[in-house]
């Protein structure tokens, strides 16, 4: 396992968090009032380039960072993103079928991650399930992620090109 692959994935997660909290932060670029879930997008799209164990650790780290920068209970996004990493690493063998299928996986996993977060944070007493416009907060990031997934697939292809070696199961 090349160390540079993990470093690229980790830097992508950090960049996604920085962009999410600045460029796509509240009051900035948020089409229809909700921003894309960039970290989820990155965690799904790096699946073909990392071994499952590293991918799971990346998902967990990304989730912990979201928790630390955000306002919720620590650990909830960590659990959620680990789930996203696990599901996407299981599905990565199908990623070779083309960008449309990757887009569909991104769309479904974003919805699942947002839903999982709502359920878990409600379980931990945050009453997130009672938030106004909950449906749009779950669905819209998935739509934006679907649209962003096509250019991002290309970006990751370029980033990982010299290190091309797939770890499909």
């Amino acid at each position: 396992m090349s160390r540079s692959r993990v470093v690229i994935a980790l830097l992508s997660v950090v960049l996604a968090i920085v962009l999410q909290t600045t460029l796509f932060g509240s009051g900035r670029i948020q089409p229809l009032g909700v921003a894309p879930a960039l970290v989820t997008l990155v965690v799904v799209l790096v699946a073909p380039y990392l071994e499952t164990e590293y991918h799971l650790l990346l998902g967990f780290t990304a989730g912990i960072l979201i928790d630390l920068v955000g306002s919720g209970t620590l650990g909830i996004w960590a659990m959620t993103m680990t789930g996203v990493a696990y599901a996407s690493s299981r599905l990565r063998a199908r990623f070779v079928q083309g960008p449309l299928l990757i887009g569909a996986v991104v769309f479904v996993l974003t919805i699942l991650s947002q839903t999982m977060f709502v359920l878990l944070s409600t379980l931990f007493g945050q009453n997130t399930i009672a938030e106004p416009e909950l449906l749009s907060k779950i669905l819209l990031p998935a739509v934006w992620n679907l649209l962003l997934s096509f250019p991002m697939i290309w970006v990751f292809k370029i980033l990982y090109k010299p290190r091309e070696r797939r770890f499909a199961v």
């Binding site: 950090v14 968090i17 920085v18 962009l19 999410q20 909290t21 600045t22 460029l23 932060g25 509240s26 009051g27 900035r28 670029i29 009032g33 909700v34 921003a35 879930a37 970290v39 499952t52 164990e53 799971l56 650790l57 998902g59 967990f60 989730g63 912990i64 960072l65 979201i66 630390l68 920068v69 955000g70 306002s71 919720g72 209970t73 620590l74 650990g75 909830i76 996004w77 960590a78 659990m79 680990t82 789930g83 696990y86 690493s89 977060f117 709502v118 878990l120 944070s121 931990f124 007493g125 945050q126 009453n127 997130t128 009672a130 938030e131 106004p132 416009e133 907060k137 990031p141 199961v169």
Partner: protein, 302 residues
């Protein structure tokens, strides 16, 4: 069922379950820990790493945000102008009424010997970052302990209360918005002077609860802080629905936050005031009023 790559699959699944378990333990620990917990130290540490990156990206991307804002607002600009013009006319009329009321208040204060503390110092700060997801109710400001900011202070903008300072480092601080479900603010309905508690619901309107209300609250009534935690008189919002008071029942209604929380760019942190000041101030007023009541009237029976 074990797939062909059995061993690897098992290892991955075990690691997945272990990480979820770690996440669960961390969450339980965070829920049960207090304000000065290890989690908050970690939050401060993480934020200090992210702050330079966020400030840099914010600086680079702010023209892009401005451009996108401009393009998206172009269509509605004419309507917005018209709406603002009519709003301005209404505000001017309201201002004239307020001037008259202010004069009356000054006279009443003089008569009753009351003083309003005008010595609250503030520091202006710029928001440079927000939470990561749509469910986060935090903002980061570019002023910290070096500027006198401490945890618990009220954060306001020109419209009203925005939130309270939660975590502070040397040059920046994290504020929790009033819309966060864990934030509660002691308030007073200005028309009836009755007190209650306003709490966040994640987004949108706030929930006002009044436990011993005797009078109804009417739509558009102004809700201000009562001085229990934040300085008194800061506008929190306006009542959205008229609600009657019933003896033995909690009066519940919605309050529209005065501050447009999704569009806040600059805020003021109110320094030099703490709930302790409120207690001292209230006690002083109490003593002053008691003295006034018990002292014999001039020219009385002697």
């Amino acid at each position: 069922m074990i797939p062909s790559s059995g061993r690897r699959f098992d290892r991955a699944t075990i690691l997945f379950l272990a990480l979820v378990a770690v996440g669960f333990i961390v969450a339980t620990f965070d829920v049960r820990s207090d304000q000065d917990s290890v989690a908050n130290v970690l939050r401060e540490g993480t934020q200090s790493i992210f702050t330079p990156l966020q400030k840099g990206v914010d600086w680079v991307t702010s023209p892009v945000v401005g451009f996108v804002d401009g393009v998206s607002n172009l269509a509605g600009l004419r309507d917005e102008n018209e709406r603002l013009r009519s709003q301005l006319r209404a505000s001017e009329a309201q201002l004239r009424e307020t001037d008259a009321l202010e004069e009356k208040v000054t006279q009443l204060e003089l008569i009753n010997g009351l003083t309003v503390s005008d010595d609250l110092t503030t520091v202006t700060a710029r928001l440079y970052s927000t939470g990561v997801t749509a469910f986060d109710n935090v903002r980061y400001i570019d002023k910290g302990s070096n500027d006198g900011v401490v945890a618990g202070q009220a954060v306001v903008d020109e419209d009203g209360l925005v939130g309270r300072v939660e975590l502070v480092s040397a040059n920046d601080a994290r504020i929790r918005l009033i819309t966060d479900p864990i934030v509660s603010v002691g308030v007073r309905v200005q028309t009836t002077n009755e007190t209650g508690i306003v709490s966040g619901r994640g987004d949108g309107p706030l929930r006002l609860e009044m436990f011993r209300a005797l009078q109804p609250v009417y739509e558009n009534a102004l809700v201000v802080t009562d001085g229990s935690r934040f300085p008194p008189g800061i506008v929190v919002g306006t009542v959205m629905t008229t609600e009657k008071a019933e003896v033995g029942f909690v009066l519940r209604t919605d309050v529209e936050p005065a501050a447009l929380l999704s569009q806040v760019d600059f805020v003021k942190v109110i320094l030099g005031w703490s709930p302790v000041d409120a207690v001292v101030e209230n006690n002083e007023n109490l003593v002053r009023n008691t003295t006034t009541t018990t002292s014999p009237p001039e020219g009385g029976d002697g």
